[in-house]
Symmetry: D2
Subunit: 237 residues, 4 copies
């Protein structure tokens, strides 16, 4: 059983009528609905929960954390974002969705600005598989299409990914590295670009397949506390 | 003075009237015309030259080798392609242009199939800068456009690049990693996708800027023969 | 069931009395003895077998290929080495042992000289785990020791590994990247430095653990023939 | 002229007699003494300076920043460390020395714990060149030796380096990735392990050569403010 925690800022869905119609119970619930299965148990947490819904104990009991945030990134305290970063370094898997490119945990893990160019014209996006053998894209064809998405454009200021497994093409003329995988410390990280709050992206079957595959992929096989030990000379221990 | 050798298969330009009109003296001459300057001395070689125009002495006297080939990749003997590979490993810079993705020297250096998907519909291509700070893209804006290019599409079976500095967007809906840099041995390698023989791509100012920048970037700062020495125990030399 | 093929040059063991005593039935048999289990079926092949014991059909029926060679690398025809390379690119896992750093399949997959410095003084080697979370080093402590090994020293002319998971320390003063993993095409590749023919390295429990772990790790999850398709414009297929 | 700023915590040198003897004016002064030349202008800053000696203006006027810190990492405010990180992402070069592996700017740029194992037994260290063609190791032989250094041992929890150019061998049996280069954003980063305060490491000629080379290598060729622009659809600008 893989223990998944879906964290959602849960702000747009409360305040924006257009978003409320699409995700009446929040993006986290929409994701929970398709992820939960015999292999995967799902919990959710949101920004307005006590302590943002995150404690050391909760993270210790999480195999893979999903993160969606956008307009209230700054309301996540640095200490909580660093606690999340450290959990990843210890081995917890982590999936960053869409505008979480600017979330504190992602920026703390990447070490870069994670800036990009963007526009909201509701372009059609075609997401191409660039690494067909990667576990995360199994069950996807050469590409999949999203009728409308927010446009994210290069340059995307990230460390060169361990592997770029998906790339986005936008109707209006931009390109973007839409699926990037990293290992940091003991943890596996996946950034996945689709998922603007104004569009029903998380109901798309291919998007769901990618996210579900990513959960299996990111599941830790090893987890250990962070240590910087003062060792003894070999033979004198 | 940087010593550049431009190698061209020089086949289409002799046999295809459409190509002949665009590159009457061969693609190599069109490239030589914009590369040559006070800092850069240019020589050319073609497939039908004796020994393909390549000897150990010629490579030893070359700082940066450019390679264009397409329909006659197989006519380059393995030994010559391996001699080129070894010169790169010793330190020679190398720029692979367009369909040279399937040339023997590129495949020998990458170790992968270098396969991609392709179609010839004369799509407009917009080439995006994904790493604005890289020396090769200085003087280029956010992107440049080519009115017509052959469409190269992902997946492109290459080792994950050291850096992906350019990405192509095609009118018809595909994306491609159009500018990739690698270090192999002591040598620097740049793969640059634009340059189909049927279009006047090498007369484009931005394409010329990229190629010229790449020559400066790929110039060796160190060159040494390949050796696998039987060393002595330290203190007993 | 993982189908493993162990390929051994099987030359030293026939001609060198010292080696014969350690590996009377060949290095391949010593490895087969500890690898075979309920999950892993093992076959072997050697250089003097017909066609080097390798055909397209045999490779298609192999999940993970192990390779040991040294004094007769050149007797493996280029075509066979390229067939092995292509099988890896299609998805077959591959483990290169010790002096296989200079085998044709390894060099073809890496694209570099794979040169290193070496001496045979029977130094003690301590092999350090540099990435404790990697599946290949599970069950290994901080390091393991080999009473005697051939010394392999940096610089090792390989593409920067996807991950360096083991590093060797030699009594006489050298260091080496002893465990390196790569993805190439659809295949996973592991280079593992220990295993000189003159020492009983393959009877070491930690060495056996690493190799067995590597078999599980390299097992393909995806396999597809190499293709460079002429695609149709989207919407016109 | 390359504008270098050497930042030193400057704590051990004031409080520890043993260190005071070696670096009476501080480690920063010892480094400044060998770096300053016709091409390089050197300034210094220390932790106890106002604002840690660091402002946005100072960073904007710095080409390459060197950082030495150890016992008082935590006294550098997060805001200042993030200002340093952002300057690197904008293009400033940066060199982290020895125990700066645990400095806030390094950890913020790497995104990992940067933990390692360590012991202080004054072992001899032999530092091996693993990438002889890298600009930072020009003028260094196969290796150089430090009579005494603090022992830093793997595992070193860093993102896989863009290139590992130096590796350390310690008398007592450990190994370490002693020279690692990274590109992050527009900036170049070099981590260099030697430099314990208790030993005269910065008077060693090879150490000085490496650091001086690194300054030339890290010098920015491009610098731009961090932006995440809301772009217009192409054709509607």
């Amino acid at each position: 059983m893989i223990k998944v925690l879906i964290w959602n800022e849960f702000a747009h869905e409360k305040t924006d009528d257009k978003v409320k119609v699409i995700y009446p119970d929040g993006i986290h619930k929409a994701i929970a609905d398709f992820l939960g299965c015999d292999d995967i148990s799902v919990k959710t947490a949101t920004l307005d929960d006590e302590n943002c819904g995150i404690t050391k104990e909760i993270l210790d009991d999480t195999d893979v954390l999903l993160w969606w945030g956008h307009m209230r990134h700054r309301d996540v305290p640095d200490e909580i974002a660093m606690m999340v970063r450290d959990a990843v370094l210890e081995g917890m898997g982590m999936i960053f969705l869409h505008s979480a490119h600017h979330s504190k945990p992602f920026k703390f893990l990447m070490g870069t600005s994670c800036n990009l160019s963007w526009r909201e014209d509701g372009d059609m996006e075609r997401v191409w598989v660039t690494k067909p053998s990667h576990p995360i894209v199994q069950g996807i064809g050469r590409y999949f299409e999203l009728e409308h998405e927010e446009t994210y454009a290069e340059p995307f200021d990230i460390p060169e990914p361990d592997q770029t497994i998906l790339m986005g093409w936008y109707e209006g003329g931009e390109v973007f590295r839409s699926g990037c995988v990293y290992i940091r410390g003991n943890g596996k990280i996946f950034y996945f670009q689709p998922g603007h709050e104004s569009f029903p992206t998380y109901y798309n079957k291919d998007v769901q397949t990618v996210i579900k595959n990513a959960v299996y992929w990111a599941k830790p096989n090893y987890r250990a506390p962070l240590e910087c030990p003062n060792i003894k000379k070999i033979g004198t221990e």
